[in-house]
């Protein structure tokens, strides 16, 4: 266990370094001036001052090492556009918002996916099963920004149940996180159904019935754990999907999370901010994948992590 974690940590540091290096050089090679490139002609003296402030007067490789050194001290430096805020402050504001959206989205996806998947499996080849499966197929096929558009038209303008956009009240979270959850709920539902059907056909389920246990006990205690193994391995990629999904949805629902800042930073070529957010996403993804592998070992006792 300890050995596994140490090994994972080592890999994480290595991965983050590679991501850092590639992102850094890509950004600065594609647009060497960063956010300083603007329509407005800056006086030469001001421009030189700014370049010195952001080390733009130094060669790229030299800057690479400076920035890497700062990152090792968890200091991503100043933004190029939002002069009054450091990148750390931007992250401190945006990250909790994005994370709560992501966690809520993932929870909705798991609850809806598990419930519909189990019911589908137990009532297979009935109207309920076919309905759930059709909805799931739609959910996978429709991109979340299209779904968000429809959701806004129906729930905001027609039914007037939710506010169109905004942030601060709990109700603001509901519609965005449901839209975020939809495709993942659909996928989890299908995985749960397949997993459940496979497990329900196993000999040990017949044994459980032969012991006189009631169907609810058999399904929840004996079948569920085996059935959700495929879902657990899907949670790694799902987290990545939730992160990128929230990029777009934060934009649609005007939520001031990391996604909004990220898109803003990319559009305005605010490279230091983009780089910092890329690094945060890398870290989140890696942590999530490690957690998934750990939980795999917890769910299935036959899985050994130390190798």
């Amino acid at each position: 266990m300890i050995k596994f974690l140490l090994k994972r940590m080592l890999w994480m540091v290595l991965t983050m370094w590679v991501v850092f290096t590639i992102s850094f050089f890509l950004m600065w090679t594609v647009s060497p001036e960063g956010a300083l490139l603007s329509e407005r002609q800056l006086p030469e003296a001001i421009k030189q001052n700014l370049e010195r402030y952001y080390h733009l007067d130094q060669p790229l490789t030299y800057r690479y090492f400076i920035v890497l050194w700062e990152y090792l001290h968890l200091n991503p430096g100043p933004s190029m556009k939002l002069i009054d805020k450091s990148i750390l402050e931007i992250l401190r504001e945006g990250l909790p918002i994005s994370i709560s959206l992501g966690v809520l989205g993932l929870s909705f996806a798991l609850i809806l996916g598990f419930a519909s998947g189990i019911i589908s499996a137990l009532r297979r080849q009935t109207v309920i099963d076919v309905t759930f499966r059709s909805i799931a197929t739609l959910g996978i096929a429709i991109p979340n920004f299209v779904l968000a558009g429809f959701a806004i038209i129906i729930f905001v303008f027609q039914l007037k149940l939710f506010p169109a956009a905004g942030w601060g009240r709990p109700i603001d979270l509901v519609l965005p996180s449901l839209c975020l959850a939809a495709p993942f709920a659909a996928y989890i539902s299908r995985l749960t159904r397949t997993g459940m059907l496979e497990v329900l056909g196993q000999d040990y389920i017949r044994t459980a019935y032969a012991k006189g246990l009631m169907p609810t006990t058999v399904v929840l205690k004996h079948a569920f754990r085996g059935a959700i193994l495929p879902v657990v391995s899907y949670l790694g990629p799902a987290t990545a999907g939730i992160l990128t999904g929230s990029l777009v949805l934060e934009r649609i629902f005007f939520i001031p999370g990391m996604g909004s800042h990220f898109i803003e930073a990319v559009l305005q070529k605010d490279h230091p901010v983009s780089l910092a957010i890329v690094m945060v996403y890398t870290f989140l993804l890696f942590t999530m994948n490690t957690l998934v592998d750990l939980s795999y070992g917890l769910i299935d006792p036959r899985v050994k992590l130390d190798k």
Binding site: D203, T207, A208, A210, K211, G212, L213, M214, G226, I299
Partner: protein, 348 residues
């Protein structure tokens, strides 16, 4: 505390040897598939007496497992369907019970063990979890009492270090040990009837002998009646008092175990006996397997189901499905010919 409950429960269900515990009449089971109605069991009768072992023999697909699974409501419905019959246990018909009533009997009064111990235990749960849930449900024990009972049962079936091993997962046991665990689980409520569906088929021969010996010993101690489903005549010779031979979903012969081996009456039984090696036969003698394939059970069978494979067949066999007739001391067979007076057929 646990002891008292178990003993009280056992006393209530005390069965005198020879008392009929289970009385199955005319049981028929179908599976409705896209390829037609597959008639897995076509009218089977048998009785099971307290303290005795009934062997059910037959090849794969003869309906021997389905008969017993159906009785306990363990076949998936649909596609399965019990089309007729009754199975009286303790004055009540198992086939007409609600799911709830039946679940009170399953694992409690009638327990089952299955063929493959590698797959019949849940790989995700520890043994203590799987053993205690039975006694907690049926005997109302607390977890602590149930755990004591589980350890006691594991010791009884010969698991060394039971008080430690009880917290292990199934994959930490060998196949033979797992089958012992399965037996301990099945017997932990001290059932009247144990249905063993090929309990030794998946085990190697030395382990088979140990498991059979264990079952015999536990039967002697507790007076449990056993239904032993198998295709292994060696197991039957060892364990059974009465034997029921099934072919194509029907009972074709029933006899006391000695009569079956010394005086078989149905050509299929005869075929089965000829297909196993005998120690008193000359070395190098060829075994004669039962030629051909069992019939397609989704089709209507005209006359005797064994006709196409029967060495003694005559045209009359196609006219009627032979009824069971009684001969001698309790042997019943379903054949219109008297194979004891006929010459053995010349091998083709």
């Amino acid at each position: 505390m646990a002891e008292e409950i178990i003993m009280a429960d056992a006393a209530e269900h005390e069965n005198k040897p020879g008392k009929v515990l289970l009385d199955v009449r005319d049981l028929a089971v179908e599976f409705r598939t896209e390829d037609g109605n597959f008639k897995a069991v076509r009218g089977v009768d048998f009785e099971l007496r307290a303290g005795e072992t009934l062997g059910i023999v037959g090849e794969s697909g003869s309906g021997k497992s389905v008969t017993n699974l159906a009785m306990l409501g363990l076949i998936p419905q649909p596609p399965g369907k019990i089309t007729s019959g009754s199975a009286r246990y303790d004055g009540l018909d198992l086939l007409r019970m609600s799911d709830k009533q039946l679940s009170e009997i399953r694992g409690n009064r009638i327990a089952m063990i299955f063929q493959d111990p590698m797959t019949t235990l849940n790989p995700f749960l520890t043994i203590d979890e799987q053993l205690t849930e039975v006694t907690r449900k049926h005997l109302g024990l607390s977890y602590k009492d149930a755990l004591d009972r589980a350890i006691e049962m594991l010791e009884k079936v010969g698991i060394p270090g039971a008080n430690r091993r009880v917290f292990n997962y199934p994959h930490e046991f060998s196949g033979g040990m797992r089958q012992r665990v399965v037996i301990a689980m099945a017997l932990s409520c001290d059932p009247d009837i144990l249905i063993a569906d090929e309990p030794t088929t998946a085990l190697d021969v030395t382990i088979q002998a140990q498991i059979l010996e264990l079952m015999q010993k536990l039967q002697d101690e507790h007076g449990t009646a056993i239904v032993m489903i198998t295709h292994d005549l060696g197991v039957i010779a060892n364990m059974a008092n009465d034997v029921l031979v099934m072919y194509a979903g029907r009972k074709v012969e029933q006899a006391k175990v000695n009569d079956l081996f010394t005086d078989p009456r149905h050509p299929y039984t005869l075929g089965l006996l000829n297909s196993i090696p005998r120690i008193d036969e000359q070395v190098g003698a060829e075994l004669s397997p039962v030629a051909g394939q069992p019939p397609d059970m989704s089709q209507t069978i005209q006359g005797c189901a064994f006709y196409p494979r029967c060495p003694y067949r005559i045209d009359e066999c196609l006219q009627v499905d032979p009824p069971l007739v009684q001969v001698g001391t309790g042997t019943m067979h379903a054949c219109i010919r008297d194979v004891t007076t006929l010459d053995p057929p010349t091998p083709k």
